[in-house]
Symmetry: C2
Subunit: 216 residues, 2 copies
Amino acid sequence: MLGRQSSMAEITVDISMSLDGFVAGPDRTLEAPLGRDGLLLHAWIFGLASWRKQHGLVGGERNADDERVAASLRASGAVVMGRRMWSGGAGPWDDDPNADGWWDDEPPFDVPVFVVTHHPRRAETKGGTPIAFVDGVEAAVEQARTAAGAKNVSIAGGAAVVQQAMRAGLVDELRLHVVPVFLGDGVRLFDGVAGRLRVTEAISSPAVTHLTYRPA
Amino acid sequence: MLGRQSSMAEITVDISMSLDGFVAGPDRTLEAPLGRDGLLLHAWIFGLASWRKQHGLVGGERNADDERVAASLRASGAVVMGRRMWSGGAGPWDDDPNADGWWDDEPPFDVPVFVVTHHPRRAETKGGTPIAFVDGVEAAVEQARTAAGAKNVSIAGGAAVVQQAMRAGLVDELRLHVVPVFLGDGVRLFDGVAGRLRVTEAISSPAVTHLTYRPA
């Protein structure tokens, strides 16, 4: 508690979910690591100026969605993600916990990344981005908090990491981006999560609804 | 199509869902037809003036949630629901498709009710409310449309009836009331629903988030 009181930094989650509760579709493969129709969950973000800039591209839309993404990126001082998200989500990587990530040459993060894995290995730096491999969500968040300083720690997914962080009571703010599609099957965001939250904001563009939750 | 053009009446769904996608919790029994913690999904509505008035009670809160419920009730000219919802959701009624409903003596509806059931029986009137038992969602909606005249047909649930209506393309507007609780298990609202929708509104009170969807 003492550590938290000295700072306004928070642990936040930003994640896109289908209306039927999935963060990835069925039939995940090397070619489609987000599963069938899984990319539909992220279509709202690919055209935004802030997302394009993060990925080294110019142009893009500047709208209310873009402002939210830009603000989230500005406030973030470190990113925590699961090993499958780091390494591409499915395929041969699943059998090789030490495989390099799909973002490995030039990760699109301007802040340190902490990859949650049961197979920790030596930290490295790729494209100027420090990448650490940490066993356990709590340890990863703690290290990320130190790295982030006065900024937030962003938990980026996947579902298992978000679930573990929520169960451990680590999440200060959940920013759920609900896309009005039905995937029918796949990876559910809230499996094994219990309790209740408090909704603090609900706004929508035609493409996506942004729901913000905090602990009840 | 011709029938629809002569009227502004719509087929609407109003239903409360947990953040993890359930409209009823696990372990449904005679005493708890909505399952464990299922009543939490409806806590936001029980205290509202409009809901209390509908159930013959005085007083209650008058706030933005109440205005939505009141407007929905005013616009509704007929209600369609499943047999289990009509009869209490679980327990011995499940074994007796001809059992009377739990609202049977004094149903809290001021408009005709159409109960979807594979065991149709003679229509009746209870407490001034006409109740018809119809085989199939499409037939029930069609009869309800005639009864509602220029008003809307409200589909009240449960999940199976909503799913059948959505799959049949019958729903003009889905009003999802998302309650920030996790039930963990139970009856999922969107099982077997495919495709996409268009979000037209997202507003929230502390207790519940109202999301409105229309066909894409």
